[in-house]
Symmetry: C2
C-alpha cells in the first residue's frame, strides 16, 4: 500500500547527501510517496540548521499528515531543543497515525514526548544512515520498517545468547521505553525522563564498557532500574578494548548489572548502531515473553493474551 513518508533533520547536518538521495529513491521504489523537508539538508556548524530551523522542521514533520516521519540521521542536537519541542503537535500527529521513527540522538525526543504527552513514537532506522546505505540495506531492518510503514507488525523476536538461556519462562507487561543509553542517562533528573515502570531497552555506540557502566550507575542510583519489570540490552558496539582493561569487558558490566538489580536483564535485542535494527514502539504497552533462548516483544492485539509466541519473528 502506498504510504506518505516525510524525511526531516532534527539533529546533525547530513553530510552524506548521496545516502539521503538513495534513501528517497529506495522508498519511492517501494511504491511510497516521499517528501523531503525544506531544511533536510540545512547545515549550521554540526547541526542541520540552527535551533530555530530544526524546531521548525520538527513542527513541519508533525504537521505533514504523513504516515511516517523519519529522521535523516542522528548525531547531536535534540538535547538543546527539549524545552521548546512542539510536544502537543507531535502527540496529536501520533494519535492521528503519523509514526515518528528514528534512533540515537532521536531517543531524547522520543522519551521527552513520552514524558510530556504519553504519545508513542518508534525506535527504528534513520533514512540516510540505514535506508540509504550503499549496497542492499539489511533485510530484517527493511522487513520491520515495511511493517511499520504499512501500519502492521505486532512484535519482534530474537534469540538470547546461548549462555543466557532462561531457566524459567518470563512474561512481563508494561510500557516500552529507552533507546540510546547516553541520551536516556542524560535525561535523569530532568523533566523529560519518563516515569515508566515497564520494559527499558538500551543500546549505545562508541562507549567503552566502563562508561556504559557509569551511565547505568546513574540510572541505578536514581531508582530507575529497580522499578522496571525488565531491562533489555541491545547492541553496544564500536568500542575499543585497551590493555588497561585486563579482562574488564561488556559482559563484566552485564554481570555487574544483574548483581545490582532484582530485575530480569535480557540481552541480544537486535537494535542499536548496527545494520540489523528492528522497529520498537516507545511508549506502547508491550509484553516481553521469553523462554529458553527465545525472546519476544509483542505489541499487537495478540500481545495482550500472548503466551510468548504470538508475534512476528523478524529473525527469520
Amino acid at each position: 500500500m502506498k504510504q506518505r513518508i516525510y524525511i526531516y533533520s532534527p539533529s546533525s547536518a547530513v553530510r552524506n547527501k548521496a545516502a539521503l538521495r538513495r534513501s528517497v529513491a529506495r522508498l519511492k521504489a517501494m511504491g511510497h510517496e516521499v517528501e523531503l523537508d525544506a531544511a533536510a539538508l540545512s547545515s549550521h556548524m554540526r547541526f542541520a540548521g540552527d535551533d530555530a530551523t530544526r524546531l521548525a522542521a520538527i513542527s513541519r514533520a508533525a504537521a505533514s499528515g504523513a504516515d511516517v516521519a523519519i529522521i535523516s540521521r542522528g548525531g547531536y542536537g535534540l538535547s538543546r531543543l527539549l524545552p521548546r519541542l512542539p510536544y502537543d503537535a507531535i502527540a496529536r500527529a501520533s494519535e492521528h497515525g503519523t509514526r515518528f521513527v528514528g534512533y540515537s540522538d532521536f531517543t531524547a525526543l522520543q522519551n521527552a514526548v513520552l514524558a510530556e504527552t504519553g504519545a508513542v513514537t518508534w525506535s527504528g532506522p534513520a533514512a540516510a544512515e540505514d535506508l540509504g546505505v550503499e549496497g542492499e540495506p539489511d533485510d530484517i531492518m527493511q522487513a520491520c520498517f515495511e511493517d511499520l510503514v504499512a501500519g502492521q507488525g505486532e512484535g519482534t523476536g530474537w534469540q538470547l545468547p546461548r549462555a543466557e538461556a532462561l531457566a524459567q519462562p518470563l512474561e512481563v507487561r508494561g510500557p516500552l521505553w529507552g533507546g540510546n543509553l547516553a541520551m536516556v542517562a542524560s535525561l535523569v533528573g530532568t523533566p523529560w525522563l519518563p516515569k515508566a515502570k515497564g520494559i527499558l531497552f538500551l543500546e549505545d555506540v562508541s562507549e567503552h564498557p566502563y562508561r556504559i557502566e557509569r551511565m547505568l550507575t546513574q540510572l541505578l542510583y536514581a531508582g530507575v532500574l529497580e522499578k522496571q519489570k525488565a531491562i533489555v540490552l541491545g547492541q553496544f558496539t564500536n568500542w575499543m578494548p585497551v590493555p588497561h582493561d585486563k579482562g574488564y569487558k561488556l559482559q563484566t558490566v552485564v554481570d555487574w548489572l544483574r548483581a545490582s538489580v532484582d530485575v530480569p536483564v535480557l540481552t541480544g535485542l537486535p537494535f542499536g548502531h548496527v545494520p540489523t535494527k528492528v522497529c520498537l514502539p516507545v511508549g506502547a504497552k508491550v509484553t516481553l515473553a521469553a523462554e529458553g533462548r527465545d525472546a519476544f516483544l509483542l505489541w499487537g492485539h495478540r500481545g495482550t493474551h500472548a503466551h510468548g509466541h504470538g508475534g512476528h519473528d523478524h529473525q527469520h
Copy 2:
C-alpha cells in the same frame, strides 16, 4: 613542617609504578612522612583491586590520621562504590584535619561526601599523575599542594581570557563544589548530587564540546545551574576537532551556556587534566571575586571580608 601523607588507590589500577615511586620520593624529599596504602598497587581488571579492596583502602585512608590523604590516580571506579562509602569516617577524619585530595574520578567521592555529610575535601593533584611525573612537576601545582599540605593557603587567583574581561566587578559567596563534569553530571538525579547553591566549578578531558554541552544541558534542565551564584569553567582538554564541527567549538558551548543561564560564567580556572592545577576546597564556603581580567577564589579568613584581592595569586 613535616607532615604525614597517606597515598591510596580508590579508582583505577596504577600501571605506572615508577610514577608512584617518584611521587613518594618527592614527598619524602620535601621532608614529609609518606605512607603507601597496602593495596595502593592492587589490580583487579581496570580497578585498583575489587570493590571490597578499594572500599577497605578508603577506610584505611580515613583512619590513617594523616594530614593529607591523596589518591594515587583517577580513572574509573568510585561510581560503583557510592552506596557503600565510609561517609562518616571520611567526615570525621576531615573534621580532625585530614585533607583528602584528588581529582577526576575522585569528584564522585568528593561531591557524595559533601551531599551526605557536608565535609570538605580538596580538588587537587593525584600522586602518580601529578607529583610523580618525569621531570620537574609543575611549579604552581607544587606551590598550591605544599600550601595544602602545610594547612596554609587562603585562596587562588587567575587571569580571565582577554576577550572575557568583566565589564562590572563581581563578588559572590557560597559553597564551592563540582570538579569533573562527567562525574558531576553522572550524579544528577541520584542521592549524591550536592544541593549546594554556590560556586560550581567544572573541567573535563577527552570530551568533545558537543558532549560537554550535552552534560551541561542535563545540569541545566535539572535546575542545577540556575541556582548557582557563579559557574567557573576550568580546563577542557584533549579533545579532537572533526571536519563535521564546521565552526562548532568549545567557545560555542561557553556562549550557549551564557545565553542559557542568568548566572555569571567565568573561564580559565587553572584546574583540570593539565599540569597546572591549583587546590580547591570542595564544600567550603568561598568568595569568588573578579574585576577586569583578575579572578580570585578565596577561602581564608580574609576571604570573609575580601574585596577581591585578599588571596594568594598562584599565577605568580
